[in-house]
């Protein structure tokens, strides 16, 4: 039986192997990230049937829990790990052709480290281990943002680093308090001991954690770094950041609120922050006319707001909706950034007005962009509709008027979201002169094959999940139930060995 620790070990080893191999052959070094992540994906899919029945607990070093650092591979962790591997695989295929600044092994090493960090976050069962993997993720993303060493990228990475470090400090302070209160770092053990502590102390710890992880999760007002970082980084980096990195922050917040602290009273506040994030994100995105990637970054903020709102709903359907939206947004946003990467490259500029009529020259990319945009707005038969429907239904099912109001605001923000996405789609297809003239990008041709394969695969996935949500809903349902079921989590870990 494959051990789940391979899921973290393979990317980590490959991250160090890539520069070593690169000393010998550059071409071979480019293939290492796709191979590593493909192996991860296969292992994850193989483990899935077993994990859906009972979670696997792996203790590092053979010590018994709660004294060890353990990996807790439940449906939630494994489904997120599969998502990370899949998205990472597709982006690394894209990056083989897209990243040209030397030395490219540096890029591949950092990328694999980012993937390691993300995989570690979702699979671990120890709070300090979570922090360490979180820092691996953050440092790798600072480096990747500044990879091109251009003016915007360096500035964005600088600001990201400063804010990220402030956030990490708060996380470490919270871990310190946590250890001081309970004397253990194992998440299941803490969960057992939490009912015996004072609510005020728990709230302080929770506040520090939420703010700390919230910087990475990009909730309002902690997300000022995101528009800069996601718009200035190279497009494959923007894709992985938007699709995966910020989701790990949301996962951490959810895990701490539900499994660790069981903070039911705090959930409505989480929903409130989520809605504010959604509204501010969509409003700011609407006004971005000069930079398509900045528009997509603000859209990411908005969608994270929606996911956080859904996490705060607290019912099984609500958390399921949040996870479903997380998956759909990861796929769609990744697709949008990958497509935008080549659209910008071919059009020669980031401005929306310079991309008009681009669909004539880049038909496949434009279709994929349209599919992803429609999915995010929530139009059937694409994937985003099912998740939005689940979230709104869950909010209304709770029957509390606050959630009903939040759901109405979320739908109003959808109208704004539609406004700016449809503007772009129209600009691609229907503006830009008639067939005879050559306006705008004259040297534009379709994106190369290395880029088209991931783009088309993602578009096909978005449509497939939209028409057959059963592909993912079963797994996500189990994952949602796992998040809400503290008791099962604790028994799974503490009685594992």
């Amino acid at each position: 039986m494959v051990s789940p620790s391979l899921l973290v070990a393979i990317p980590l080893a490959s991250a160090f192997a890539a520069p070593l191999v690169g000393l010998g052959s550059k071409k071979l070094a480019k293939c290492i990230p796709p191979l590593a992540l493909a192996a991860n994906l296969v292992i994850g899919l193989l483990l899935l049937p077993r994990v859906l029945e009972k979670a696997i607990v792996v203790s590092i070093g053979g010590f018994p829990p709660p004294f060890c650092i353990n990996l807790m591979v439940g449906p939630l962790g494994l489904s997120l790990a599969i998502l990370i591997s899949l998205v990472g695989l597709l982006i690394s295929i894209y990056a083989t052709g897209y990243i040209k600044t030397e030395p490219t092994e540096k890029y591949h090493a950092l990328f694999l480290l980012l993937a390691t960090g993300a995989l570690g976050i979702v699979l671990t069962g120890d709070i300090f281990n979570l922090f360490v993997f979180f820092e691996i993720l953050c440092v790798a993303s600072y480096g990747l943002t500044a990879y091109e060493k251009d003016r915007a990228g360096t500035e964005a990475a600088m600001k990201y680093l400063i804010q990220g470090t402030v956030g990490s400090t708060f996380i470490l302070v919270a871990i310190g308090f946590l250890y001081g209160l309970f004397g253990t770092l194992n998440m299941a053990d803490i969960a057992t001991k939490v009912p015996s502590a004072e609510p005020l102390h728990l709230f302080l710890i929770l506040a520090f954690f939420v703010v700390g992880f919230g910087v990475e999760a990009a909730i309002f007002p902690l997300n000022a770094w995101l528009p800069d970082a996601h718009s200035s980084a190279p497009s494959s980096v923007s894709a992985i950041l938007s699709a995966i990195a910020i989701k790990t922050g949301v996962y951490a917040i959810a895990r701490i609120t539900y499994t660790l602290m069981n903070a039911q009273g705090f959930l409505i506040f989480i929903s409130l922050i989520g809605i504010i994030t959604l509204v501010v994100g969509e409003i700011a995105a609407y006004r971005q006319k000069d930079d398509i990637k900045r528009m997509l970054a603000y859209s990411s903020i908005g969608q994270i707001g929606l996911i956080v709102f859904a996490i705060g709903i607290g019912t099984s359907l609500g958390v399921f909706g949040a996870l479903f939206q997380l998956v759909n947004h990861a796929l769609a946003k990744c697709l949008l950034f990958l497509a935008a990467g080549y659209m910008i490259y071919r059009a020669g500029s980031k401005k929306l007005s310079d991309m008009q009529g681009l669909a004539r020259r880049m038909p496949l990319t434009a279709v994929a962009f349209t599919v992803a945009a429609f999915s995010l707005v929530g139009l059937p038969p694409f994937a985003g509709f099912m998740s939005k429907l689940s979230i709104v239904s869950a909010a209304l099912k709770t029957g509390r008027s606050a959630y009903v109001a939040f759901a109405a605001i979320a739908l109003a923000a959808t109208v704004v979201e539609g406004g700016y996405f449809f503007r772009v789609v129209q600009g691609l297809y229907f503006r830009g002169g008639s067939k005879g003239e050559s306006v705008g990008p004259t040297k534009a041709k379709e994106a190369p094959a290395a880029a088209l394969i991931p783009i088309l695969v993602l578009a096909a996935l978005v449509i497939a999940i939209g028409v057959y949500p059963q592909l993912v809903t079963n797994v996500l349902d189990h994952a949602a139930k796992e998040l809400l079921d503290r008791g099962a989590y604790i028994t799974n870990v503490l009685e594992a060995l």
Partner: protein
Amino acid sequence: MQQVANYMYYAGGGGLILIGLYMVMAKTNLVKIILGLSFLDTGTHVLLVAIGYVRGRTAPIFSEGMAETTPVVDPVPQAMVLTAIVIGVGVLGLALALAIQVYRHYGTLDVRNIRGLKW
């Protein structure tokens, strides 16, 4: 006196964190902000070690001639701090390298002028 001695280390760690936050929020020179980040890290480390401290016990390192039952302070926070120091060093190194790059592009380290990306 006893009270002060009890909370001295926490106050020290907390104070360092507050100084660090002040520097990040209020100083406009990029190097000073990075120094502020360093203060934040140091303060957190002091805080963590203080949490693990137990009065009257000694360091958790088994040297020559020490029995295994010698009372020691809690070693777990010290392990955490070691890890955190390493993380901090990495981040600070990256931060200073980025500061050099920013200076090359912008010609200044004043944060109020490094505002190419806004709104």
